[in-house]
């Protein structure tokens, strides 16, 4: 029980500032990235008309997320953003499943990961808005319906980032706390595998999809 909430940090002094690295989270993130790179190479390395099992899974991802992006963002822009959306989902889903393997942790259990991904989505959405609508129309959106709404509109934009990242963080963190506490109370007998299946596979997949879907919708709302 005591290991909960402890984070292994590497603190480096650099030009009068403390740079803090959450080593464990970084290692876990790199494990996920390595998985994805291997998956990508084995899915697309040997393309054939009769696809192998890995290629089929890869094609499934690509097809699903291209159609989702095109339906949400629109034909033309959707094609452009679909690789990002597909990669985001694959990264999140693998991250959320990683905790099922003993001694590995979900990188999404750390707020830094989810906040980083949320900020990334926010920047992309605003960049898209400026590029598609022009700077003037983009800025005008902040003083609608009338000028007094400016501070609330800005807070509303920030609240989007906060809500999207805390949603993923809270769910994954909550799942892992429940698994830890129940394992502790039952001496790891009988129940933990079922909880892992529910919170890791099922809830993890749903939350990865919700995060991806919300990022897509933020981009779509900004683009139009």
């Amino acid at each position: 029980m005591q290991e909960l909430g402890k984070i292994h940090q590497l603190i480096i002094h650099f030009m009068g500032h403390d740079l803090t690295f959450n080593v464990e989270v970084m290692i876990m993130t790199w494990i996920v990235i390595a998985f994805l790179i291997i998956f990508g190479i084995s899915a697309a390395g040997k393309k054939s008309i009769l696809p192998g099992p890995i290629q089929i899974v890869g094609e499934l991802f690509v097809e699903q997320f291209f159609s989702l992006a095109e339906e949400t963002i629109g034909e033309e822009l959707g094609k452009k953003y679909a690789p990002l959306i597909c990669a985001l989902f694959m990264f999140l889903v693998l991250s959320n499943w990683l905790g099922i393997i003993p001694h590995l942790d979900e990188p999404t259990k750390d707020l830094n990961t989810t906040l980083g991904l949320g900020l990334m989505g926010c920047f992309i959405a605003h960049y898209t808005a400026i590029k598609e609508k022009g700077l003037k129309t983009y800025l005008k959106g902040y003083i609608e319906p009338f000028f007094m709404m400016l501070p609330l509109n800005i807070i509303g934009e920030l609240a989007n980032v906060v809500s999207i990242s805390f949603r993923l963080f809270g769910n994954i963190m909550g799942g892992s706390i429940i698994i830890l506490v129940v394992s502790y109370l039952t001496y790891s007998l009988f129940l933990p595998p079922f909880l892992n299946a529910f919170f890791g596979f099922f809830s993890g997949t749903i939350q990865a999809f919700v995060f991806t879907m919300l990022t897509t919708v933020y981009i779509a709302l900004k683009a139009k």
Partner: protein
């Protein structure tokens, strides 16, 4: 009394509050599911087994909010936290309040899709597995606001606050518990409304399942936002560093921030749920209109959420300015 007895007193009271309030929601939700199952059985008495199985599965998910409360109550009774600081009693009581009240919404909410699923199976037996999947997805997302309460209660019990100043931090602990706990009510119920019509629409029009489920998840995620604000305020209250102060006003401001965000989040949660409920219902009937319905739904939910953002702003002012 010495501090040990105060810790014992507060853990016992906290356990009572946690399990007492925590038992409300799930019982209501499960009762609703069983009621709907009766309706379904009167329509299709020959499908007794399928309907009863779906009802029990849905009730099992709805029960999990009460099980979280049970978990916190057990932890409070048997471990009683690890700290011996004079702040510990506040943390333990706040943990009980947070989990107990936080389980109400999710318990009620996740009973609604279970009820809709039993009726849906009676109406459309061929798409039994799709209806069950939709119900499970909906009920699982509805549980998330109870999970936020669980995270906060767990932090309140096991956090190390030995180095914190007593004077404002006792209020921060109570405020954190109240903020997450009460904020979870609205979102839990609201998400339940959305999940209910999601299941209903899949039963009405199984070919539209992927669109209905996509928009359902989106709408539930938006309805959940205000309970995330509650969690956010709780996290800020717990992890901000405070200077020690004797002024009661600055302590009261922290408690006030928790109350403001907690109660302010109830309305937007339910309101956004009602928006999503109608949107999903009409996507099930008119699948082609999905893009325009989704757009209207998101705009409407954003407006409904603005009152939650007012609460967030006032809570921020109380924490950082007052």
């Amino acid at each position: 009394m010495d501090i040990q007895s105060w810790i014992r007193v507060s853990s016992v009271v906290g356990a009572g509050v946690s399990m007492g309030f925590g038992a409300i929601g799930s019982a209501v939700g499960e009762g609703y599911a069983a009621g709907c199952a009766n309706e379904a059985m009167s329509r299709r008495p020959d499908m007794y087994n399928d309907i009863a199985r779906t009802m029990l599965l849905g009730q099992a998910v709805a029960e999990s909010a009460a099980i979280f409360s049970l978990l916190i109550a057990m932890l409070l009774l048997f471990t009683g936290g690890s700290s011996t600081s004079p702040l510990a009693p506040f943390g333990l009581i706040a943990a009980g309040i947070c989990m107990g009240i936080g389980a109400i919404g999710s318990g009620i909410g996740s009973g609604l899709p279970a009820g809709a699923a039993t009726i849906g199976i009676a109406r459309q037996p061929a798409s039994k597995s799709q209806i069950t999947t939709t119900m499970l997805i909906g009920a699982a997302i509805t549980q998330t606001s109870a999970i936020y309460s669980l995270v906060t209660s767990f932090l309140l019990i096991f956090m190390d606050y030995s180095a914190r100043p007593f004077a404002p931090f006792w209020a921060a602990l109570l405020g954190a518990g109240i903020s997450t706990g009460i904020a979870a009510i609205g979102s839990g119920v609201g998400e339940g409304f959305v999940a209910q019509t999601g299941v209903e629409s899949v039963a009405r029009n199984p070919t539209a399942m992927s669109r209905v489920v996509n928009v359902m998840m989106l709408s539930m995620a938006v309805a959940e936002t205000t309970s995330i604000y509650g969690l956010l305020i709780a996290m800020i209250l717990l992890f901000k560093t405070y200077p020690a102060t004797a002024s009661l006003a600055s302590a009261a401001a922290l408690l006030g921030a928790g109350i403001c965000m907690g109660i302010g989040a109830i309305g937007p949660g339910i309101g956004e749920g009602l928006t999503g409920q109608q949107a999903i219902r009409w996507i099930g009937r008119n699948e082609e209109a999905t893009p325009i319905i989704t757009r209207t739904m998101l705009v409407g939910q954003a407006v409904s959420e603005s009152t939650g953002i007012y609460s967030l702003v006032i809570a921020f002012i109380m924490i950082f300015v007052v």
